[in-house]
Amino acid sequence: MSSLGKELQQTIRNLETLRDSQTPPSDDAIEKLDVLYGQQIDLIDAAINQNTEKYKAATASLKEAAKKTKEAIDDLAKLEQAIEKVANAIGKVTELLAEVA
């Protein structure tokens, strides 16, 4: 299984936890989740070559996003920073997906 897929799943799970811990949920979290779900569908649909720099960059970026969202679960003050990391990861995955489109 792709490690990119695993990191993406972990980021989604953490962001869902953050969304559900807030009343009302953060619009940022909802918007980013929508994009991440869309990217997960795109990844299922695409034949991704794992041996490219873009794949590695996207995976590393998602790993960072997963880490920061986990930290934000424990300390909500870190949410903004986590959302930034998620946005960055989304950008890297978009670049990767654009290559196979």
Binding site: M1, S2, G5, I12, I30, L33, Y37, I41, L43, I44
Partner: protein, 294 residues
């Protein structure tokens, strides 16, 4: 007269010895049991791939209806379960169904004899699903199936065919099972059909939550639509989880039982507990599909 009696006795002796070359009662019962269970897993899988695709289309319709940020370019309602991708999955389940059906026909008194039709379906669907032609050895085993009227000759030939086909098909059946494992896995990093279904449901839940939690910002009609979408998404998430759990267990059992059947065919005294467990799990899966029907 004496010569005639000797000939009759010799004929009877030959008949008894030929009958003895068939399958033992244990081999017949277990081949039937495995065949029926495999036929059912094929049928259930075939229906489920269509259900997953229909479910994704339905959820995406709801998503577009409640999320006004989505545009016409987002209208790939069936993504990633396109007709081509779904047809490839259905070929795999049809191959399993045909294999199960063939084993049942070989192990029973069934003389309706559309064996060749079932055998052809098995060969063709296996080749499509695994994206490669079967080896001559496997095709040869299938081609040995005899179409004809019932007699002990036919029973013996059926038994011979079963003894060749079951070992020859051990690997293709395991390969078909492996294709299904990915499609019914919700593990992190898996990229199959049930994951796509679950992700679509989560996306719909995410979008509907925003409206449901927005208080008086939306009209009663908009809110009603969002609540409908939220309920649909929750049901689908729970359905995906249940199906994934049961299906993964059953597919694992299919592989174990497949190996056990090969050993039983080669060595009568082999234990058959895994086949029993597999047949029971298929029944549980069928019951659960009924409960979770769309």
């Amino acid at each position: 007269m004496k010569k005639k009696l000797v000939l009759i006795a010799a004929g009877l002796l030959l008949a008894v010895s030929i009958s003895g070359c068939g399958l033992t009662s244990k081999q017949i019962v277990k081949t039937q049991s495995f065949g029926t269970a495999t036929e059912n897993i094929g049928k259930l899988g075939e229906e489920e791939f269509v259900n997953i695709r229909n479910g994704i289309i339905e959820m995406n319709k709801e998503l577009i209806a409640i999320d006004n940020t989505k545009t016409a370019s987002d209208l790939n309602f069936d993504r990633p379960t396109t007709p081509e991708a779904t047809a490839a999955r259905i070929a795999a389940t049809k191959a399993l169904k045909s294999y199960g059906e063939l084993l049942v026909k070989l192990a029973t008194e069934d003389r309706t004899e559309n064996l060749q039709k079932v055998a052809n379906s098995l060969v063709n669907n296996t080749a499509v699903a695994l994206k490669k032609d079967l080896s001559d050895e496997k095709k040869g085993a299938i081609n040995k199936i005899i179409v004809g009227l019932g007699s002990f000759w036919v029973e013996k030939k059926k038994a011979d065919a079963a003894k060749e086909i079951i070992p020859a098909y051990e690997k293709p059946v395991n390969d078909l099972a492996d294709l299904l494992v990915e499609d019914f896995s919700l593990e992190d990093g898996s990229l199959g059909y049930i994951k796509a279904y679950d992700t679509t449901a989560r996306r719909l839940k995410n979008a509907s939550m925003r409206l449901v939690n927005a208080g008086s910002q939306y009209s009663v009609l908009e809110r009603d639509r969002a609540v409908h979408a939220l309920v649909l998404s929750e049901i689908s998430i729970s359905r995906a989880s249940e199906i994934s759990k049961k299906a993964s267990k059953v597919i694992g059992s299919l592989k174990k039982a497949n190996t056990e059947l090969v050993k039983l065919i080669n060595e009568e005294s082999y234990s058959t507990d895994d086949i029993k467990i597999y047949a029971k799990q298929i029944q549980e899966l069928a019951n659960m599909f009924q409960v979770l029907a769309n």
